[in-house]
Symmetry: C2
Subunit: 590 residues, 2 copies
């Protein structure tokens, strides 16, 4: 993708010094990410693009309508995040922009994978259109895995090669988003090959996602077409992937902190030109308190990475890997997205220029983001059957006694990995009775895309001690998922979510129900970052009162129905054996 | 451009170790150009592509039909030359392949600019098709400047945006070739913008050529679209270009030796990932005696460049700059073009594998290149008017005495730069008479594309002391150019060239005429490299006998009619003032 100025000849004339520019920023320490040099320079901008970078300290006032004194700050490209799901912040694209722009992010490449699973192609169009007229650039990769695992879950849409061809027509689409189904790639499944071919035909790069160490599997995946990967849990895997020519996005998300372990291994390599930083998933409070790409940069430098190397990993490298030919650097013909930074260690952002306009200074937006409303934000996506209190009982194949049940077992407090084990569960009046088993919870996954499917289950080690925790954020199909100790609370929590068009809810007997409304597709709030972070904090407190001991209790439920995380998961179709790719009955002997 | 195997699934299966490969090369020191590491490895190849690179020393014989022992050699990617004019070697594409493959070149990106100026689009198709079934890959960039300077010369064709769209359909076309008319780019001339837009629409990269130091002009050029440059005469200019994000091809041609001066400046930069090596123009004897990209590599390392850095500049970097996504490295999914090298200093090539087949060993091709004939090679491109002895007299506006003449002046022995100066020349019987002026020569430029235009002139400092030197190699329009001390010799030389369909000829009174026939478009021989080199050597000897003192006397005539080299040049339209872009009369006062 290449960005063009409205009037190319005017930019050429400005470069030649034959017409004045809109802006000159002088008296800066210019960081050239191509050469690694830092030198005094003046950056001239016309119509949103860099026209000329003059070596030296002061601007020629005859050649710029406005001259800004950079006061000796480092002038660097704006930060480019090559992989983020905006939905994970629970902010709308516009609220997300307001939150990250003051931190120096001028471009993100988003994978609107979550909302696409709920609302299909129109959701990708929404995410694309909602990014109009922002003080930043939100580019869109077309979700590749909708649903994540076909046949094992009912999501709200199915994407194929035709989808890729249609969505590639949107002007700010640049790639095919993280191809998570690495087995389908390595095994050459036709539907996947067709999508990869469609991407190639449309000139899109293919973003990868391959959290494995097996070098043969990695090799087959690389042959298949993806060129990047942000799922590197062990540093040594980063080296394996770089050896294959894959580009590595070292992730610093709210959950996965990969930068340190990746850098500890790749630092010994001669070349780091295929390493980038990314954030993948960031919570609202994390952005507020710690920042966005600036936080990842601080982490990289704290690990020992050189400041200019790190800067390259957050600017030029992510632009290159995403096929963006005039972003990620400050040079003639490039978009005039740049920052004035205090230093190259803490990356404190004094000022953010986007398209040559000052959009933030000292952590505060300097121009309001025009509010816009979209029909999609008003849609009710809670397409569930009418719910009754009795729906939350789980019927057993016997009337009394005990029955063997396939139980989903969380072995570790923080990790999402689960196993399946068979346990004997008491039955009372034909229903499972967990009242004497404090470490077990009931589970219901209710399809919310009008399919009518519902799955019942039991889980051990989830953490909830009383009440119910319900969520419509439930990767990747985002069905209504509720984990509970009593059916009344479950009914109450689900009812509350239906009423507010989705979100998260914690209900406990005798206590005020706490709801986090996420009315946009059941995934995103319409609040700004600060207010949302407060609501999320209240939800976490409610869950702690309900007994959940995890550092972030929200993570538990949102990955419980994601049938790509080993070894077992629930979906609306039942208990899934992830490796065998099949659905198991709740009662193994029934 | 991405290359695909015939059977993608088979390659995936081979990567997974589920089917045997055609070939495994074991016991090598594998040079990973992505990471810069060197480690023992086995390279598995199926159907021309790398399936898997296994770390360790020995192959699994169950997984390869053939196992080759690399005997501890360095295994590296085949060399990629990102910019060469095959016509400059005077070899056909097939003879060129035979010459360079033993030197380790497995891919070249050619600009068939010379032959396109003679025969137009069909010539590009010829160069493309003549590269079929070779033991190397010859990719084609579409010539962008045919003719070099419209309006100042008559060449055999005119290319425009439509040409780009048509030729982009050829499967091995990858870019728009060196955009030499940098002023047209910087000034936004419509015809040039249209061609650049056409390239962008067709997904072609744009190769540059901008031999200037002015930073504003360089900036405007970079805004215009070209992303590379191989015309860097001063090392400091390389730094200026890299700062703009341009990719630099450090050239080691038979004439221009730029590697040392470029490296002397860029070595201080933190990043060299935008530096490549290229050869641009190489003579047959130079390839025979000194090699091709291996020669450029030796030069780079002799200048102090690290061997692995240099290797990257001759493999991965040129592939990236040319938009070749699976060439220039040895990794799963990449074309199996690799070398076994003695070392990373002299780059002695033990073996060359192209598409997984051994094609050369110890400097000798191991498989014959199938001869092919093409109708274009038989075409007579000498479309000149019938020539008579009298045509070589130059009529003066007076009958006797002296006359003022615009003379083209070569100030330096080796350089092609020229000035114009007015001199008083004797006239006898109405014709210019240089007989008493040993440092002057007559000049005729005869259009050979059927246009009928002829220009007469006088030159000082050319070097010829007696006889005539005629050539149909005469950049870029390749008209018939003859420089002479007497009209009889000129007539004889031109007659000989018409008879042999073009080439070079040296005729001297009372001596045997020496001819170098170049029957393919008047530019290329049909002989193999060794025989051609011998003929070229004989031509140089003949020119030395005729008095020419230059180290390479051929260079003088072939750049004499190139109206982009300052300050003055002859074309078939007359004496051109290069900066003013206008044609001047021979007699300034007539």
């Amino acid at each position: 993708m290449k960005l063009y100025p409205k009037d190319r000849r005017a930019l050429l004339e400005a470069a030649m010094g034959r017409r004045p520019c809109d802006l000159a920023v002088e008296n800066v320490r210019f960081v050239n990410v191509f050469t690694g040099e830092i030198y005094p320079a003046v950056v001239y901008v016309l119509d949103g693009f860099v026209a000329y970078v003059e070596e030296g300290g002061r601007a020629d006032p005859a050649l710029a309508h406005q001259v800004v004194d950079g006061q000796g700050a480092y002038l660097t490209p704006g930060f480019v995040d090559p992989h983020i799901h905006i939905e994970s912040t629970m902010l709308t694209p516009r609220a997300f922009a307001a939150a990250v722009v003051p931190h120096g992010t001028t471009t993100v490449v988003t994978d609107p994978h979550e909302i696409a699973n709920v609302l299909g192609e129109q959701a990708v169009v929404y995410m694309h259109d909602a990014a109009e007229d922002l003080p930043m650039r939100q580019l869109v990769d077309i979700p590749s895995c909708v649903p994540a695992v076909p046949g094992l879950e009912n999501s709200g849409a199915e994407f194929d090669a035709g989808t890729v061809h249609r969505l590639a027509k949107l002007p700010r689409v640049t790639g095919l988003a993280e191809v998570m189904d690495f087995l389908a790639v390595a095994q050459g499944e036709q539907r996947m090959l067709d999508m990869l071919d469609a991407a190639q035909q449309e000139g899109l790069y293919v973003q990868g996602h391959v959290p494995v160490s097996d070098k043969r599997l990695l090799s087959a995946y690389a042959i298949g077409g993806p060129t990047t990967c942000h799922e590197t849990r062990e540093g040594e895997d980063a080296v394996s992937k770089l050896r294959l020519g894959l580009r590595i996005d070292a992730r610093e998300s709210s959950i996965a902190k990969d930068v340190e372990k990746i850098y500890s291994q790749v630092r010994r390599l001669r070349y780091l030109d295929r390493v980038s930083l990314c954030t993948d998933d960031r919570e609202a409070h994390d952005i507020l308190e710690n920042g966005h790409m600036d936080n990842a940069l601080r982490k990289a430098v704290a690990c020992g990475m050189d400041g200019v190397d790190a800067l390259r990993c957050a600017t030029l490298h992510p632009a290159l890997e995403s096929g963006l030919s005039n972003l990620g650097a400050v040079a003639p013909g490039y978009a005039a997205d740049f920052l004035l930074l205090e230093d190259l260690k803490d990356f404190r952002v004094r000022a953010v220029y986007y398209g040559g306009r000052l959009v933030a200074r000292d952590g505060v937006l300097t121009q309001e983001i025009t509010p816009k409303t979209f029909a999609l934000e008003q849609m009710d996506t809670m397409r569930v059957p009418p719910l009754k209190r009795e729906d939350f009982d789980i019927a057993a194949p016997v009337e009394q006694g005990v029955v063997k049940v396939n139980v989903l077992h969380f072995a570790e407090l923080e990790k999402s990995n689960t196993t399946r084990c068979v346990e004997e569960i008491p039955v009372r009046d034909g229903k499972l009775d967990l009242s004497q088993q404090p470490d077990l919870c009931y589970v219901k996954i209710v399809n919310r895309h009008g399919k009518g499917t519902v799955c019942s289950g039991v889980t051990r080690g989830f953490g909830l001690k009383e009440g119910a925790f319900a969520s419509t954020v439930s990767h990747d199909s985002h069905n209504l998922c509720v984990v509970y100790r009593d059916a009344d609370s479950a009914y109450e929590a689900c009812r509350a979510l239906v009423a507010c068009r989705g979100g998260m809810c914690c209900a406990m007997p005798g206590q005020q129900t706490v709801t986090l409304p996420l009315p946009v597709a059941g995934l995103m709030s319409t609040l700004p970052c600060g207010e949302l972070a407060r609501q999320v904090g209240e939800m976490k407190q409610a869950l702690r009162r309900a007994g959940m001991p995890q550092s972030n209790p929200l993570v538990r439920i949102v990955t419980m129905a994601l049938p790509v995380i080993p070894e077992a998961k629930y979906t609306d179709l039942g208990l899934v054996d992830v490796y065998a790719k099949k659905v198991l009955p709740l009662f193994p002997e029934a």
